[in-house]
Symmetry: none
Subunit: 206 residues, 4 copies
DNA sequence: CATGAATGAGAATTCATTCAT
DNA sequence: CATGAATGAATTCTCATTCAT
């Protein structure tokens, strides 16, 4: 009659705690004590459930990625096969993160890329997600280009551009709040996507 | 006969040191000792020339901003009054940072927005620069829209979108190297700018 | 119907676990969790069977001592009353620890003296055993000296010397493996014992 | 006009502090704070002068080894070429450690072998010293055997035996104080050396 | 008896900042 | 101005011990 296992719930509490702290502080400033306090747990328990601090960040990245992908899946189901609708589903999945109930997630995501650039363990799930998204976007964009009778060789680059714009919207939203009007992000990103795929604009930038 | 003043040179050495260290580590991980070593100076000297560590970051932000604005000024002179050329000058000024000799500056800039979001002192010069650029871009974009007979009310939002995309290109370049093909950033950004300003795309995103 | 008692078996499992862990780590580095894992038990159970961590070490010392004395008893039975044979039985009992199946015990023993020097509770059984062995050795050595017509006043000192050499063989075997050739320890120790008891060598060291 | 360098003196203070603490506690129990207090320094300074705690131990080992070798050199000069005298010089160099002013060094040395067995960095200087001493002892013992017309093939093993006995005298002196009478160690060890080299004893241990 | 979660004190280590020279 | 030593608080991590089940 041992105490029932609750590792999954505790790990979730702790990653939530990190997300809350990272809404105000950087990952480096998020002390284990602050995370534990935000999670309502003793500090020793954090290291009982996680090997080290970085492992919490990795788990948080995995959770945020899974959440984003779940949002996208939900919207893709409604989009059917229309390639523009599929692109919009992608953008909306990210923009909805902003609109939805989890402001901590937004603040975190804008910081995670930087941590990934310096910490190989964090880079693994981050980069895997980015590559997955880049592949999916490239396919959707190629479908758009094909439907419009254009060559598809610019699809990968255009997908990278849209990813960059999405990431940038998160970052700018954190670093310079108010510059992007509330609710404007999704429309902005869709217009940029259209610019990336437009035949007219193809010659811009030589 | 007083020793000749060399404060300006020393401050430059030290901000350079910070930039070098921040190419590999986050600001939080950049210790004063590491900065001093990268600058080729004794560690005690750092606090003689700077009140505290954050002041170095502020000075670095100011220097990077000044550099970017100098690049833009140089290109604007060549652009004359053509509004599209002025927009391209903006994009090129940032993209050139990438192409130019200073990879440390690129790595730093992608990190500075995050620090600005958490540190009021850093936010001051960062936000001032972003606001300045946003105003200039808004004006340039309004000029484009006017020239094309469109209403200018979307100019501010479009300017925010382009800024976001520029920032995003820096961030994605650091966090997921290789996703954006080398040399492709400027063209990508210009196409996105055209998308933001296109009459056709105006209805995208409802 | 009460659950059958298994305390003795559990205590044995746990002291075995400590011995295994101490073959690789020092006592200080042997955590309760590691001991429990090596014993194949849950960590909470350790403190059910032992008051505290040090009690495990004390129990282990008692077990190793009992094992050594059992080996000596077995060999003494074969040695009869011949004083040289009794001395050899002592040496062989220790050297056999080395040759026998329990390398963990060897590694432990070389560490236990050090712990005994710092922890009174551990010192109690350790010191008692050493004193017992010293007394037995002194008697055996006195018998040898008497048989050879020499005075017995050097017996106690000689016994201490042999004990030191035995301990030293364990320590050196751990700290500098290979210095003592495999299988050479027993012969070496017996020759040293003869040196300690030799009439010729009596004047050495003034 | 910088503050004068005093790193060497500080490192010496700190290794002395470790030696003092290790007279009462094991290395594992010797906290940085305790070492710093024993050295009369702030705890932060310890890590300014040493990379980490283990580096202090390594430096201490090197210092103790150097001290022992200096003692031996001094005695060797007086011993001339007489092989017995050279052997006695070795034993006396170690036994004098006991008699001399530094009881902390004795307590440390008895512990260092154990640490060396578990920590590769500590093993390097320890093992190097042991190998050096083993080589020197082997040569001296071979000279003795040659002078007495015996074959020299047992010299290396005899040297290992004497080293073991010396180490054992340190350990037993710590773990069971009083067993070895004060001042008796050197004579004991010399008699054991004679036993190891005696023609009569050669057949002992079969 | 048994399990594994929980606690909290203490350990090593880092580092911005201050100071003596 | 400049150097590098010194300080002490903060941080991550470990772990014996206790507890709920």
């Amino acid at each position: 009659m041992p105490r029932p296992r609750n590792t999954a719930a505790r790990r979730r509490q702790i990653t939530d705690g990190l997300a809350q702290v990272m809404a105000d502080k950087s990952y480096g400033q998020a002390s284990i004590n602050a995370i534990a306090k935000a999670a309502g747990l003793g500090s020793g328990l954090v290291h009982y459930h996680f090997e080290n601090k970085q492992a919490i960040l990795v788990a948080l990245v995995e959770r945020l990625v899974a959440g984003l992908e779940a949002r996208r899946e939900a919207r893709l189901a409604a989009a059917g096969d229309d390639p523009w609708a599929r692109l919009d589903a992608f953008v909306d999945a990210f923009a909805a993160l902003d609109a939805d109930a989890d402001p901590a997630a937004v603040a975190c995501w804008s910081r995670i890329g930087d941590e990934a650039a310096r910490r190989p363990e964090v880079a693994v799930p981050y980069r895997a997600a980015v590559d997955r998204w880049h592949g999916a976007l490239t396919a959707d964009m190629a479908a758009v280009l094909t439907a419009e009778g254009q060559p598809t060789d610019r699809a990968a680059e255009a997908a990278a551009g849209l990813l960059a714009a999405i990431e940038g919207a998160f970052h700018l939203g954190q670093a310079a709040p108010g510059i992007i009007p509330a609710g404007a992000a999704a429309g902005m990103l869709k217009r940029m996507a259209r610019g990336l795929l437009s035949a007219d604009a193809a010659e811009a930038g030589r």
